[in-house]
């Protein structure tokens, strides 16, 4: 089974956000970068599918700066076979530009499955996976929390509000992974060592400008100071009134 997994290097979720001097982006000084957690589900799923099939190849592809090689190496340490870095200093804000570059790399790969994480924890964009599918004219299911493959057909479950949709689709296909799909493995020591020797190709690319222009990045407004409504149970009716009429949450 030949599987491609697209991964992204993202700031750790615990990052304290500081705005860069340009007023439009994150100040990266001291920020720790990791493999996007949703992409870990995708990598793990690819490894399991290859293991189940008994043979195959898992290729990890990323669009990003030179340091994204480390991110790819993390996936290689988990067990992927080789990596490709589409190298660019600036990751476009426009997901379609990202999708175009990835699609160009994926097009002739002969992949049975192309996996993504459903979203990146920095931009929450939720779009590159299905856009790549459209560009490659492949079937696609997003937010997959359960997957079964039998022969050339796949069955995927995805959560929608208050329900679970069970989707059926033919392979080859594009899927984006959600939490719950699997438990990603920790790289073993041997895997970390082996990853250094696995092939990692670096290809410089030039993303288009795209259709989204950043105007400003700001911190959310500080919560306004609240107030103590009163003491003891006698204050409850007033609280409820305020929640209804002022805060409008009841």
């Amino acid at each position: 089974m030949k599987i491609a997994v697209c991964v992204k290097r993202v700031p750790d979720s615990e990052t304290r956000v500081k705005i860069a001097p340009d007023g439009r982006s994150l100040d990266e000084a001291g920020v720790k970068f990791i493999l996007n957690p949703y992409d870990e589900f995708a990598v793990e799923e690819a490894l399991r599918r290859r293991e189940t099939a008994g043979a195959g190849e898992v290729v990890v592809i990323s669009l990003g700066p030179p340091q994204a090689q480390e991110t790819i190496r993390t996936a290689l340490a988990m067990g992927a076979d080789r990596g490709v870095l589409l190298q660019t200093e600036r990751i476009p804000l426009d997901g379609l530009e990202v999708a175009r570059l990835l699609a160009a790399e994926l097009r002739d790969g002969g992949y049975d499955l192309i996996l993504f994480g459903k979203m990146a924890i920095d931009d929450y964009n939720h779009q590159v996976g299905p856009m790549v599918a459209e560009l490659l004219d492949l079937p696609c299911v997003t937010g997959v929390s359960r997957l079964e493959i039998a022969g050339g057909t796949g069955t995927a479950e995805r959560e929608v509000e208050g329900a679970v949709e069970v989707m059926e689709f033919p392979l080859p296909a594009v899927l984006t992974a959600d939490k719950g799909l699997n438990e990603p493995r920790y790289p073993a020591l041997k895997g970390i060592m082996a990853a250094k020797k696995k092939p990692l190709e670096v290809k410089p690319v030039s993303p288009g400008a795209g259709g989204l222009e950043p105007v400003a990045m700001t911190l959310p407004p500080e919560r306004q100071a609240g107030r103590i409504v009163g003491e003891g149970p006698a204050a409850v009716p007033e609280l409820v009134r305020l929640l209804r009429e002022e805060a409008k949450v009841l």
Binding site: P130, A133, L212, E213, L219, P220, R244
Partner: protein, 325 residues
Amino acid sequence: MSDVLAVLEQRDGALRKVSHEVVTGARRLADGLGGAVEALAIGAGAVAGADALGRFGADRVVTLVHPALGRYAPEAYARAVAERAAAGGYGALVFAASATGKDLAPRVAARLGVALAQDVTDVAVEAGVVAVVRPVYAGKALLTLRVTSRPAVVSLRPNVFTPVERPRAAAAATAALGGDAGRVAVREIRAAPAGALDVAEAPIVVSGGRGLKEPANFRLLEELARAFGGRAAVGASRAVVDAGWRPHADQVGQTGKTVSPTLYIAVGISGAIQHLAGMRTSKVIVAINRDKDAPIFKVADYGIVGDLFEIVPRLTEEIKKLQSA
């Protein structure tokens, strides 16, 4: 002068309420672009509630009908919306950033070869260009963007664009859709497992801390949660989860969950940073604690100081009264 296409969402033949928010957002954009709002529904037949969209500002409501498209079929829906968009010369397309909307909008944008601003919390038109605001880094920052491609495709974060009454004619039309359902088909839809709402999903969270003194006292919070009529979940601080009083799945903050409900009620929780980090983006925070110096009061919008064992039952009573009113 450009019209705006509002892409509606239906389930089982009835319009989902989030569609009102979509039309509201579309109306705001249409006013800025100087055009009309066309609301678009896709289904196997008439969609209940679609004709009422004039209330929120829809000038036209179009329902595209196909026997196999009662349920979401990504490829067919994407094709239908993209074809309509390509033909109609819209200035903007508006989706809900629901599970379905976040799936459909990227496909449509890719088909049209344009950018998508996903999950936005504000939209405006400045000098004829659509501008949006999106939370990034888990809401720790807000990014303002101009959408320079046309049509501007955006999806709206649910529960943010409070529906506004802007009555319009809403001329209704129906048309048949050709083609098939596509390669990806919904084989079945299962209801989510019955049982308590997950703290991360519930619109109202009632959370308890060590002030409750004993695990059995959490029933006070469970009663309060029930009084909200199925919309509330019971959460817990790390301290009580560590003590084994509540399951880890209920933990709010630190390595438990981050929640962002409309209403968060913290009972007997002091408000250490690790708990606050989990619930600070809640829309409205209420704190009940006997210690007036507890840090939680600095973060809460409203607070009551006193004995929670007296206050919580009173609150439950008042909420029940409200619900039955």
